[in-house]
């Protein structure tokens, strides 16, 4: 899976990484039990500080999406993937939003507003 970060974006890099990984896990792009790269590897590849990547991983762990164990690294949690009904609803939401002319940022903002 490809991970992209735009350091010029107003969204902090750790949040971009967290959001991309969370999305990939919930969408089933990253399978349960799949190992994620080490914090140092991702930090090196993206030219970011290790602390930035550590924060993204910590947030994912708090959300129950990944599990970190000594000696086994960080893996996608076994129950992290969204079930079929949620994914279908997400697909329907994306289709409707695109039909209404909303871009990704607007879709996420709307979801956040509804969630809170």
């Amino acid at each position: 899976m490809k991970l992209e970060v735009d350091t010029a974006s107003p969204v902090p890099p750790f949040e971009q990484v967290r959001e991309r990984l969370a999305g990939a896990i919930l969408a089933g792009e990253l399978a349960p039990g799949e190992r994620l790269p080490s914090i140092r590897q991702l930090a090196s590849d993206l030219g970011l500080a290790a602390g930035t990547m550590a924060r993204a991983y910590t947030e994912l762990e708090r959300a129950g999406l990944v599990v970190t164990a000594r000696g086994r690294g960080t893996r996608v949690a076994g129950t992290a993937e969204a079930d079929g009904a949620v994914r279908s609803a997400a697909d329907a939401y994306i289709a409707a939003a695109l039909g209404s002319g909303l871009d990704l940022g607007a879709m996420v903002a709307l979801l956040r507003a509804r969630h809170s």
Partner: protein, 292 residues
Amino acid sequence: MSILPPVLPLLIAIAAFLVLGSIGVLASRSADPMQHVRGRLWLALGTFGAVLVASWVWGTERPSLLGLPVVVGPGAAAAAGVLVFAALPARGPRLAGARRSATTTVRSARQVVGGRTLVLPIVLLDTLMAVLVATGLSADRTGDSAGRAFSAAGPGVSAWGSPYPGWFYGVPVLVIAAVLLLAVVVAVRRTVLLPAVSTDDAVDAAWRLAVGRTLATIATTGLLLYLAGVLWAAGVAWKILTQVGATGLEPFAIVQSIVSLLSAAAAVAALAVAVVRVATLGRVVQREPVAA
């Protein structure tokens, strides 16, 4: 007579090589990861050459050390070169541009030393250990030259040959060989953490393997020089004994001399391979830039 004047141009050339390598590494802070790693490898090769020459000069200028610096030099030079590569910051150059990309593929040390990369160094290390144990056990155990001479006695004849690779030389060589092995492990771990040169996993893996092979070749060069030196010293000592009448040693002396020469030739070839590998590192992959 001092040997410094003849080797001075060589020392200057190596020093210049190191300086240029360092400049290359520093300059590549703003270039792509490939250039940065190539600079590190040049620096490793330069360090190898500098330490090898320095140990040789030190050993020949100080006869009281009984040639120990010359004997341990090749492995120490290889370990120093590999450690210089490993010691530089793993993060490498600053990535240019705001948009960066990476993959979630987990990298491992196996990617860097995959396949048969370490087979030759391990075989050489095992052979070296076997030879050193054999020569260590057959060396003199008493007297002033204990651990560094070999004696033989025949009917009415008694003689000894030195220097001989007994424990006096063998133990430091084995210790340095262990340090070299450790240095390779550290360098491989650092190579895993080098920034990716491509988001194509196959391309990145090919490049990392090329770096691992270069490091293994530097280690191989040191081990081949060790083997050549140990066998040569044992062969010479035995040949001296045959000249004063000791029997039964001549075939061993001849075989050891031949294998020693072959090892030395292989060491020169391995060094040439390492230089070519560093020079052609960029051609290993048709890469796409990590930073857009």
